[in-house]
């Protein structure tokens, strides 16, 4: 009960939807509610969870980033190709290269926004193309199949922490991805809730000018935020490659919308200043529920983004409407 009081309306709404949907699916397929389903779903959601943390932070600060898939694939793919070329087998180095690239590109976004003083959306839209194009020129676009992957990717792909069996008797395990995912989520929570930087991020999203007057260096904060989003994208890039167990470097681009959708559905305010990690996780859960279980309801998986779009619009409309009514009382017009 105390928990229900602590969470906000959006989260309650999401929990209700998720529970109802799960019951619906369970009634069609009794094997649905099981550890095996959970583990499978987690494995495919791992990358999205990591990316969503970055999007959440950017959105709380009042911006939107659409360049993170390009950064992720830039980091992951470059790291892979370097490892292949130099025969590096170290897990640490693999991540380090990808993360370093991610941070550099993320900081690049922030610097451009600071200079141009334009909507982050339009800037990250351009840098997404630039980064991706740059990668294809510098590194190439060659597909890498499962057999050619360096050992550390294979290990990452196969390693499991706990195993269980699915309805057909196959062995399904909780992927080792849980470790980086947990680290990223906890780190994001820690930054947002326990540090001065976190306070600054919220402050900036509420009122950029007031944050500046209060003594925050807003430009520096932005560099941190986008740098951190780049860092997460770097981590995700490696996990993505390990997860798919092969890589087609043009595949990830275009997925930015689904991650942003998860974050917005999770209740983060697109205008900044508000957002929760728990809500975002609920958004991701809903997304993967739709993507993996629509089949049980007799619909093909192609309907997934349609349903996501509907939930997204409903949650946007309800929260915006409340704010609009409030604003109108004070003669603030936001259209």
């Amino acid at each position: 009960m105390k928990f229900l009081k602590k969470i906000d309306n959006t989260q309650r709404f999401l929990i209700v939807i998720i529970v109802i949907y799960c019951i619906l699916v369970q009634s069609r397929n009794s094997a649905f509610l099981s550890l095996a389903t959970l583990f499978t779903m987690f494995r495919s959601a791992a990358g999205t969870i990591i990316l969503s943390m970055g999007v959440l932070m950017v959105m709380i600060s009042g911006g939107i980033d659409v360049s993170f898939p390009a950064i992720a694939i830039f980091g992951g793919y470059t790291s892979l190709r370097i490892c292949m070329a130099c025969g590096i087998q170290s897990m640490f180095l693999t991540f380090a290269i990808s993360i370093a690239i991610g941070i550099v590109l993320g900081v690049g976004n922030a610097v451009l926004i600071n200079i141009l003083k334009l909507e982050p959306f339009i800037i990250t839209l351009s840098t997404a193309s630039v980064y991706f194009g740059l990668m294809t020129i510098l590194v190439g676009t060659k597909n890498v199949g499962a057999t050619d992957l360096p050992a550390q990717f294979k290990t990452l792909s196969k390693m499991k922490l706990i195993t269980t069996t699915n309805q057909y008797g196959g062995e399904i395990g909780l992927s080792v991805f849980i470790i980086p995912v947990a680290i990223c989520v906890v780190l994001t929570w820690f930054i947002l809730r326990k540090t001065l930087i976190g306070k600054g991020i919220f402050a900036m999203g509420c009122n950029n000018e007031a944050a500046r007057r209060a003594g925050f260096n807003v430009n520096l904060l932005r560099i941190f935020i986008f740098g951190y989003a780049g860092f997460l994208a770097g981590v995700m890039g490696v996990i993505y490659i390990a997860g798919t167990n092969s890589v087609n470097p043009v595949s990830l681009v275009g997925t930015e919308m689904s991650v942003i959708a998860c974050v917005v559905i999770g209740g983060a305010s697109p205008t900044g200043g508000y957002g929760t990690i728990f809500g975002t996780l609920l958004g991701v859960i809903l997304y993967y529920l739709f993507s993996q279980t629509l089949v049980y309801l007799g619909l093909s998986a192609s309907w997934q983004s349609f349903f996501m779009g509907i939930v997204l619009l409903i949650s946007l409309i309800t929260t915006s409407w409340q704010r609009r009514v409030q604003n109108r009382k004070n003669f603030i017009y936001t259209e």
């Binding site: 326990k194 540090t195 001065l196 930087i197 509420c206 007031a210 007057r213 209060a214 003594g215 925050f216």
Partner: protein, 511 residues
């Protein structure tokens, strides 16, 4: 009482921007525990002075000593470290964050500890709230609080940083009488602790009455320091504007008794209650009262921007429902809004485009297309008629002075040929010359048969231009002065007293 130690000694401060002398040789001393009022018209340089003391900008010349230490080219951080805090008019709070976070934020930044601790934050906040003796839930979000409570949060935020000197920019504008009283009590409490408070204000109100001294600035020059007791509103107006304000009182010549506009028992919860008024041809009806008394809200309701809960509006005897400004314009109602830059002007558009904005419907020519020649012709006429100083009608309006911008806005509405013309504080931030011209135009409109409603908090302006006046307080009509009553010799004092006395509706009306 004010102590003997000076917190700030600013000597011979001058500040010039590109080609503009914002401050010229201004010297001001602020003592420990002193309550000072910095008065002057908009754009006189008082905010520049505050910015210089607060280290947001640096003076071109002059010396500043804070706590006895000379710090001429100091930064905002230096000023904060020395105990100087500014509460801006917009309060600069973080609306979606909690009370505790807001109060503690500046202290956390100052201390610069990379990690924050929720317990510590709450302690900072509750300590600061205890200092001024108010109780506001620490977990509430700022957007859930009233404006008065937000003001208090901003004060607490400053106190949490051990402020020794607090600048408050127009702190009472949006507060009700009771809220102002409790704010002033808190300020008196601060004074006892030795904290100096400087109010920045452009009019004489209750804030000035608790001040120990008043410093008047005009056109970047200091006019003088005065004891609060030796100054009244007329003198203050004289010092602020540099002119004996003595305009001819307007007299209505029209003898039609038919109501152009009649408002009956109009109520909008939280804005105003049971408002009735009648406007005839040639009337200039003054609507005054403290900010937040419901004047602007009432005007918005007549203009279709604030749907009333109950009550009726009649235009020329016919009952009307006005759903949006477009309806209002069709009925012949025009409104020059209060916030010129935000609500009125299209800043990067030309004078022509600004003047023609409200009459797009009427300048249709061939096949219903907009006839740009007619709009130009009209703008040129308006520029002549209202003596707007521009090169031609294609000049971008943002390059004009405040007075000329306002005249262009009046021209926009004059072009619609309004029968009922509402002007909301039309002379704020406008030089004396343009002010007199605007009065002339207003009276001219009325003489030609328009009914004018003039909203203003300058009693001088109201008395000079209006033949009838309604005083509002806290959403109620306190009193309506008739044409006869307006001729009383002490009318200014009467209205002034009524505006400031703040007795709620019916009691004051019975007096």
């Amino acid at each position: 009482m004010a102590g003997t130690n000076n917190i700030v000694e600013a000597e011979h401060i001058s500040k010039s921007y590109v080609g503009v002398q914002a401050l010229d040789d201004v010297s001001i001393t602020i003592k420990e525990g002193e309550i000072k009022c910095l008065a002057g018209e908009n754009g006189c340089g008082k905010s520049t002075f505050v910015k210089i003391i607060a280290g947001v900008e640096n003076a071109t010349s002059g010396t500043i000593r804070i706590g006895g230490k000379e710090m001429t080219k100091h930064t905002a951080k230096d000023a904060i470290d020395a105990g100087i805090q500014v509460i801006f008019q917009d309060l600069s709070l973080f609306n979606a964050m909690s009370v505790a976070d807001n109060i503690a934020m500046n202290k956390l930044i100052k201390e610069g500890k990379p990690l924050t601790n929720q317990k510590e934050i709450r302690k900072i906040a509750s300590d600061a709230l205890a200092l001024i003796g108010v109780d506001i839930p620490l977990d509430a979000q700022i957007q859930e609080l009233s404006i008065a409570n937000r003001q208090l949060i901003a004060i607490c935020r400053a106190l949490a940083l051990d402020a020794k000197l607090l600048f408050m920019d127009e702190p009472t504008t949006a507060l009700t009488k009771n809220e102002v009283d409790s704010l002033l009590n808190i300020v008196m409490g601060l004074k006892k602790r030795g904290i100096a408070v400087v109010f920045i204000s452009h009019k004489l109100d209750e804030v000035m009455r608790i001040a120990d001294s008043i410093t008047v600035i005009r056109d970047g020059h200091k006019i003088g320091d005065f004891a609060a007791s030796e100054i009244d509103s007329k003198k203050l107006a004289y010092y602020m504007t540099g002119r004996e304000v003595d305009y001819q009182q307007y007299e209505r010549k029209n003898d039609s008794e038919d109501a152009l506009l009649e408002v009956k028992n109009l109520t909008k919860k939280g804005n105003f209650e049971d408002m009735s008024l009648k406007l005839r041809k040639g009337d200039i009806l003054g609507l005054t009262g403290l900010l937040g008394a419901g004047r602007t809200e009432l005007a918005f309701s007549i203009f279709g921007m604030n749907k009333p809960d109950s009550g009726e509006i009649y235009v020329e005897g016919k009952k009307v429902t006005i759903n949006n400004p477009d309806d209002a314009i069709d009925l012949g109602i025009g409104l020059v809004p209060e916030e010129r830059a935000i609500q009125g002007l299209f800043l990067s558009k030309s004078v022509n485009e600004n003047v023609a904005a409200a009459i797009l419907k009427r300048i249709k020519g061939f096949l219903g297309s907009i006839d740009s020649n007619r709009s130009r012709e009209l703008s040129r006429k308006a520029i002549d008629q209202f003596r707007i100083k521009v090169y031609n009608e294609d000049t971008v309006i943002s390059t004009l002075s405040g007075g000329n911008q306002q005249k262009a806005l009046i021209a926009r509405w004059a072009a619609t040929g309004p029968k009922i013309f509402i002007l909301d504080t039309p002379t704020v931030g406008i030089d004396i010359g343009s002010k007199a011209e605007i009065y002339e135009y207003i009276q001219q409109f009325a003489a030609e048969g328009t009914g004018v409603i003039l909203i203003s908090d300058e009693v001088e302006e109201i008395v000079a231009n209006c033949n009838r006046v309604i005083v509002m307080f806290d959403g109620h009509k306190v009193k309506e002065y008739t044409e006869e009553e307006m001729k009383a010799p002490d009318i200014k004092e009467q209205i002034n007293r009524l505006v400031e006395s703040g007795k709620p509706g019916k009691e004051a009306a019975q007096e």
